[in-house]
Amino acid sequence: MITLTDVHKSFGAKQILRGVNLTVERGESCVIIGGSGTGKSVMLKCILGLVTPDRGTITVDGEEVSASGDRDAFLARFGMLFQGAALFDSLPVWQNVAFRLLRGSLKRPRHEAREIAIEKLRRVGLSPDVADQFPAELSGGMQKRVGLARAIAADPEIIFFDEPTTGLDPIMAGVINELIREIVVEMGATALTITHDMTSVRAIADKVAMLHGGKIRWHGPVAEMDTANDPYLTQFITGSAHGPIETVR
């Protein structure tokens, strides 16, 4: 279970998060929506400890994230897909995917790690001949999927996806949505996904949280999203240029 309580974060004078409260239950798929630049990515980075909040607490299974415990063990439970994929361009694709399996506590024989990598690549719709290419040789959407394969390579308990379907064609987006759903249902993983794609929200979410103005504006089951009486949420879902959300920000 992930709990954020009154999380604040500013960069210089820019206040990004102004008191975020959110709970994600174990085995739940929570989708975060919200305008561009509202701090969705920053929020995920706060949970992972990549960004230190100015104020507030974040706990994972009751344990505070910032507490200087065994960070490696803590992070070993997570998988993260970065918005820009963040692949290591000095390593071929399969070594990117198998990064965790080639070193550290989860280390296993090289050929085994490679097999797992190729299997994960297949799951994100990439053929085995991609394995030996370098990230720079791939298209943006392919890089994104390699990033996704890397995030799930070590079968983490908690997975964060930052815009997993952005830049993918509709069919491939469908494949990825199904994959995320599978990971949650079959492996019982907890997933926290950021997306702007409403089709994707409906396909993968149990719960939806909308970040606006530095706070969680609306949080509830996906089924209640359409009937919710919140003008901000309604404007976002319908993608209307008219409503309470400013279009210049």
Binding site: K45, L48, G49, L50, R71, D72, L75, A76, F78, G79, M80, F82, Q83, G84, A86, L87, F88, D89, S90, F99, R100, R103, G104, S105, R150
Partner: protein, 267 residues
């Protein structure tokens, strides 16, 4: 009104000065912590041997051509200068001794150090800064890999271990550059030249040269890592980090050279 006007520029100047001094101390502090952390990670497992061998190749082996060429030309030019200078008080015969001394004690290590700043510091800084800007460093952390251990420690260790070898190569090639010019165009006898060189050089000359190499190797790699890791955002951040790293490495190498020369030879 007039007093505030008069006081303002002075206050302003003092404030600027104070900020600059504080900024310098803060930077020195950060750099010291970074250095300590690097050595701590170098000495504690896990060790990333692949990264280390990669760094060995990049810092050491691939630097050989540029080190050889610069040393060759510098040694040659030095021989010509000393011959011309020595001729003014009919001391042309000191060419082998002064070339050996100049190359081994000073020019060899300094040239190699500056070449490291140009070739290695810049490439490390640009690489790590790009990794930072594209969130690859964050990705490393989420994959339970410490960036200092994975990126900085192997590179600095490679600098520490290989640059003394590069300096040895630079020294040797530099002396041969002088020898070549001396026997080809200054009418020196080859055997006498070499004998004079070997007889003249002493152990402290060579030791100081290698120690300088190790120090410069650490400085060059460390500066690349430090500025890369602390890069600003975007392409501009990468450019700025690269530039600052090379300048810092070059200045620190020359400063360290002075201090080491003083420590070794100022009796």
């Amino acid at each position: 009104m007039s007093t505030t006007r008069a006081a303002n520029p002075i206050l302003h100047l003092l404030a600027r000065l104070g900020a600059a001094v504080l900024g310098t101390f803060a930077a020195v502090g950060r750099l010291t912590l970074f250095t300590l952390s690097t050595f701590r990670h170098m000495l504690t497992p896990p060790f990333y041997s692949r990264e280390f061998f990669h760094a060995l190749m990049n810092v050491g082996y691939l630097s050989l051509p540029v080190v050889g060429l610069t040393a060759l030309f510098t040694g040659g030019a030095l021989a010509l200068q000393i011959y011309a200078g020595g001729a003014r008080f009919s001391a042309e015969q000191v060419v082998p001794q002064i070339v050996a001394l100049g190359v081994v004690r000073e020019l060899g290590p300094v040239m190699v150090g500056l070449m490291m700043a140009a070739r290695v510091t810049s490439s490390i800084a640009a690489e790590i800064a790009t990794m930072k800007v594209t969130e690859q460093i964050d990705a490393l952390v989420t994959l339970s890999t410490h960036p200092m251990k994975y990126l900085t420690a192997p590179r600095v260790l490679a600098g520490l271990l290989t640059v003394p070898f590069l300096v040895a190569v630079g020294d040797t090639v530099g002396v041969f550059g002088g020898w070549f010019v001396a026997i080809k165009s200054l009418d020196f006898n080859s055997a006498t030249y070499l004998k004079n060189t070997i007889d003249f050089l002493e152990m402290p000359d060579i030791v100081s040269s290698l120690v300088k190499g190790a120090a410069f190797g650490v400085i060059a790699t460390l500066m690349g890592c430090y500025f890369g890791m602390n890069s600003g955002r975007g392409a501009q951040g990468v450019g700025q980090a690269t530039k600052s790293s090379v300048v810092a490495a070059a200045v620190l190498i020359l400063a360290a050279n002075f201090l080491l020369t003083q420590a070794f030879f100022a009796a």
